[in-house]
Structure formats: structure tokens, C-alpha cells
């Protein structure tokens, strides 16, 4: 039992190694993605947004905190400072959003050999990151424009533009450059890369700490709830404005339009929560099983 409670501790220099590894790899990939041009098909932009599989893989294989912070810093240093595009305070938002998303993704996995877990974690990481960046972009227009609601069509168009780019990034970049490569790399690197850094592979017995495992779930659920709340809030606000400028549209579609969107958001949130809870129930038995074996 003592073995079970043992936390996954790294020495100072091992933390440093994970940090530098993640920083230089993700930084390098950022520089490469900056060079790849994007293909625009109307509103749908097929661009390689980022190679998210690198921080995801490293967060799953090593301590997620150091890998996530290292990757976020690598993006800023290699992708922005060194290319002369450092944006000052705007980078802070990217840093926090990205490292939070990657950290949560890394914490969701406690068995890197379990492909389903790795896949869910990879997609969750991408979705959280894209959601945070979309929310920030919407907020920027909101703060930047005086009497935001009074400008005809602006509220809806911001939401539509950001929503399209969100779906686009999650479905295109997320699946091609986060989900598939992560599923390919994690089982291959697991057990191979750790000895190179002089540490033992993560396994079911070595946990971070109970608090760290439970906390990310709470965070995920709270973020999903926040999304629902924000969407609802936003819809109700733009609805009031809709009546003023575009009464015909509202009458023909009806007020239920808003409730449909809120309902969809709620259903998505509910499904995710149920899946997470089920996974939460499964994982302890998983750990126990390996303990007995």
C-alpha cells in the first residue's frame, strides 16, 4: 500500500530536463508550422495551426506541469521572440491558456498504454485550448468596441467567425495533428525516452498525488459549465439586440432558436460529464487490478 501512495517525484535536474526538452521541441515545431502556408476555402481555413501532439505526448509521458509550462514558454520564445513577433502582454493569455490545457490533458491520463485514455486526453487538451483562445478573441472585440451590442450584426458575426475557427481548428488540426500523432507516438516512446533522461517510466503505481488527479476533472467540468453559461448569456444578450434590428428573422425562426443552442450545449456538457464520471469510476479499479497482479 505504501507503494500505491508513493508520489511521482522528480529531482530538480529531472524537472529541468523535462522543461528544456519540451521547450526546445515544441519551439522548433512552432517555427516549422509558422513556415507552412495555409489553405483558405472560403470561411474554412485548412491551416496547420500547431503541432499539438508534441506537448501532448510529453505531458502524457512525463510530469505534465513541467512539460506544459516548458512547451508554452517554448512557443513564446521560439515562435514569437526569435521571429521578432513578441506581442508583450498578449502573450500572457496564450501562455496561461496553452499550459493549462496541456496540463489538464496530461493529468487525465494515468496509463500511457491505454489508447482510449490517451485519445480522450489529446482531444480534451485541444478543445480546452481552442475554447480559451476563442473566448479571449471574442472578449477582445467586446472590450474594444464601445456599446458592443448596439452595433448591428457585430455580436453575431464575432461569434460566428470565432465559432467557425474553433470547429475548424478542433476538427482539422485537432484530429490530424493532435489525436493521430499522439496515438502513434505515445506507445512508441513510452519506456524508451524515460531512460534517456535518467528516470523511470510513469506507471499506474506512481501517481502524482490524489489531489492532482481529481482536480483536473473538476476543472474540466467547471470549464464545460462555464461554456454553457457563457453561450447562454451571450445568446440572450444578442437576442435582445436581434429583436431591434431583425425582427422578421426572430419571428420566423422563433424564440426557441436560443433554447435549441443552449440545449445542444447542455447535452454536450452532460455527455462529457457522464463520460468523465464513468472513466473516473473505471480508473481506480484499473489501478487496483494492476496492484493485485
Amino acid at each position: 500500500m505504501v507503494q500505491l501512495k508513493k508520489r511521482y517525484v522528480l529531482t530538480q535536474s529531472q524537472k529541468m530536463m523535462v522543461f528544456i526538452l519540451s521547450m526546445s521541441l515544441y519551439g522548433l515545431s512552432n517555427m516549422i508550422t509558422e513556415l507552412i502556408p495555409s489553405f483558405q476555402l472560403g470561411p474554412i481555413e485548412l491551416s496547420v495551426e500547431y503541432f499539438a501532439f508534441i506537448p501532448l505526448t510529453l505531458c502524457i509521458l512525463f510530469h505534465p506541469f513541467y512539460a506544459a509550462v516548458g512547451a508554452a514558454l517554448g512557443e513564446i520564445i521560439f515562435g514569437e521572440v526569435m521571429l521578432g513577433q513578441f506581442g508583450g502582454l498578449g502573450e500572457l493569455e496564450k501562455f496561461i491558456g496553452f499550459s493549462l490545457a496541456m496540463f489538464i490533458a496530461g493529468c487525465l491520463v494515468n496509463d500511457p498504454k491505454n489508447r482510449r485514455q490517451v485519445g480522450i486526453a489529446a482531444m480534451t487538451g485541444v478543445i480546452i485550448h481552442q475554447f480559451i483562445s476563442c473566448a479571449v478573441d471574442i472578449a477582445k472585440v467586446w472590450i474594444g468596441v464601445e456599446e458592443f451590442e448596439a452595433v448591428p450584426g457585430l455580436a453575431q458575426s464575432v461569434v460566428v467567425v470565432e465559432g467557425v475557427s474553433f470547429l475548424n481548428d478542433v476538427l482539422f488540426s485537432g484530429i490530424l495533428f493532435a489525436l493521430l500523432p499522439t496515438l502513434y507516438l505515445v506507445p512508441r516512446l513510452y519506456g524508451k525516452i524515460e531512460p534517456l533522461l535518467g528516470m523511470k517510466p510513469r506507471n499506474n503505481k506512481t501517481k502524482y498525488s490524489l489531489g492532482e488527479i481529481i482536480a483536473p476533472r473538476v476543472v474540466v467540468i467547471s470549464i464545460i459549465l462555464a461554456v454553457t453559461a457563457a453561450v447562454a448569456e451571450f445568446m440572450s444578450e444578442s437576442d435582445m439586440a436581434l429583436i431591434e434590428w431583425d425582427a422578421d428573422f426572430l419571428e420566423s425562426v422563433g424564440g426557441w432558436f436560443i433554447w435549441v443552442s443552449i440545449g445542444v450545449a447542455a447535452v454536450v456538457a452532460l455527455i462529457t460529464i457522464v463520460m468523465l464520471l464513468r472513466k473516473g469510476k473505471k480508473t481506480p479499479t484499473n489501478v487496483d487490478g494492476s496492484q493485485q497482479a
Binding site: 526546445s24 522548433l28 513556415l35 468596441v145 458575426s157
Partner: protein, 274 residues
């Protein structure tokens, strides 16, 4: 194939390396580059945040003109300016087009123009500040305002290692191309070739991750041998490292002129409205 070849020309490793050094050390002798980093940070703290909360058009245009002057003073490469303009215009244009679908009209243009002005003031402020500093100055400046030491280490490490990492990646990429078979036909819109190159670009990371892991271990061992962790915690080391930074009369002049300009601008706007 032509498109792909053009892409490959752009990704020439030597070109990227030269471009990097140019952005880093290209403009070391402008007026702004000789200022203390802390002065520039303080200056940026106002011009990077305040525009968000200013809705007055005259005031914004005044700030915009001022930022244009400082951006010219910092002698940024035209490429960065071009990228900035393109980004701002395409974002605003896209929003405008979509807002038309939702029943917006000419009324939507003015707020969007104001927003674009605002964003360009902020971007130019950050270009002025961060492009005029060379990397050492930036990392020491960040260290002096209390940013964790990892950041300044990361900047130094990035400049040292990135060229060799890029070269290594390029070698792996080329060996994948040598051993693999390129698609016979390009497919519609070259999608086969593009998919092939993207797949190689992703696969090349597998050997790279392993070799960088080895390299990282060597680096950290070397750092430890030099007492990095100890120096990391000691405040005396930091003090010693930053002892060369001091405010000069130039800093005072820069801050005074900026403050004076902003005050006059506010006064002018106030008299304009009444």
C-alpha cells in the same frame, strides 16, 4: 510540385538562420535600443493597456500617430510591418463581411475601424518595445522585473540551440524523403503531395524527440556541473548579473516627452469636445 518546391525554397535552413540573427541583432544602435529595458517596459505598460479603454476617436488617432513615429524610430524590418497590416486588415475585413450577412451595414464600419486603430496602436507599441531590444537585453530586462529565471534561460538557450536543432530536423526530414516513395500523382490541388509532406513532417519528430532527450540530459548535466541550481536561487548572483543596468538622462527624456505628448493630447481632446 511547383508549389511544394517553392515551399522548400523558403524552408532553406541557411535562410532561416540568417533571418533569425537579423531580427535579433539587426538594429542595435537606434535611440530606443540604447534605453534601459525597464524604461521601455514602463512605457509599454501604459501604451499596451490604455488603448483598450479609450473610445475617443481623436485621442486614438493621436496615439496612432505617436506610435507610428516610435515604430519608425525603432527601424523595424518592413516585413514585420507588412505582416502586421495584413493581419489587422484581414481580421477586420472578415468581420465586416460576416456582419453584413447578419444585417449590419455601413454603421458597422466605423466601430470596426476604431477597433482596428486600437489594435494597431497596441501592436505598434509592442513592436517598438520588443523589436528594439536585442535578446540579452530582453532577457536581463525580464529578469530585473521579476520574471522567473527560466524565461531568460530559455531565450539564451533558444538562440544557442535553435540553429542546430533546425539543421538536425532538416537532416531527418531529408532522410525520410530519401528512403520513402513520393506519391506518383499529385492528386487534385496537390493534396497527395501535401499529405505526404505533412506526414513526413510529423514522423520526423519521432527520432528527433529521442535525440533531443539525449541532448537535454547532457545540457542539464553541464549546467549542474557549473552550479546552475545554486545560482538560480541566490539573489546575489542576480544582483551581480544585472548590475550594469542603470537609468540615464536618455531614459528620462524619453519618458518625459511621451508623458508630455499624452497630456497634451488629453487636453486637446477635452477642448475639442467642449
Amino acid at each position: 510540385m511547383e508549389y511544394v518546391r517553392k515551399l522548400m525554397d523558403r524552408v532553406s535552413v541557411e535562410g532561416v538562420k540568417i533571418e533569425l540573427l537579423n531580427t535579433a541583432y539587426g538594429n542595435g544602435n537606434t535611440f530606443l535600443a540604447k534605453l534601459d529595458p525597464r524604461t521601455l517596459f514602463a512605457w509599454y505598460l501604459y501604451f499596451g493597456i490604455a488603448p483598450w479603454f479609450i473610445h475617443d476617436v481623436v485621442l486614438l488617432i493621436g496615439l496612432f500617430l505617436f506610435m507610428t513615429v516610435t515604430t519608425i524610430m525603432s527601424r523595424v524590418s518592413p516585413l514585420i510591418i507588412f505582416i502586421l497590416c495584413l493581419g489587422l486588415l484581414s481580421q477586420a475585413g472578415y468581420l465586416l463581411v460576416v456582419s453584413w450577412i447578419f444585417g449590419g451595414g455601413w454603421d458597422t464600419i466605423l466601430p470596426l475601424l476604431v477597433l482596428t486603430t486600437k489594435l494597431s496602436v497596441i501592436s505598434m507599441a509592442s513592436i517598438t518595445v520588443f523589436c528594439s531590444m536585442d535578446p540579452e537585453k530582453l532577457s536581463d530586462g525580464l529578469l530585473s522585473i521579476g520574471v522567473p529565471k527560466q524565461v531568460s534561460f530559455g531565450i539564451a538557450y533558444g538562440y544557442r540551440m535553435l540553429p542546430s536543432l533546425l539543421e538536425e530536423y532538416h537532416h531527418i526530414f531529408l532522410s525520410f524523403r530519401l528512403r520513402g516513395v513520393a506519391p506518383k500523382r499529385h492528386g487534385i490541388l496537390y493534396w497527395r503531395s501535401i499529405a505526404y509532406f505533412l506526414k513526413i513532417a510529423v514522423l520526423s519528430f519521432y527520432p528527433l524527440i529521442l535525440s533531443i532527450a539525449k541532448r537535454t540530459r547532457t545540457t542539464v548535466e553541464a549546467l549542474e556541473a557549473k552550479g546552475f541550481s545554486y545560482a538560480y536561487q541566490s539573489p546575489e548572483v542576480k544582483k551581480n548579473k544585472l548590475s550594469y543596468m542603470k537609468f540615464t538622462i536618455r531614459d528620462g527624456l524619453f519618458i518625459t516627452v511621451s508623458a508630455l505628448y499624452v497630456c497634451l493630447l488629453y487636453l486637446f481632446t477635452a477642448s475639442y469636445t467642449f
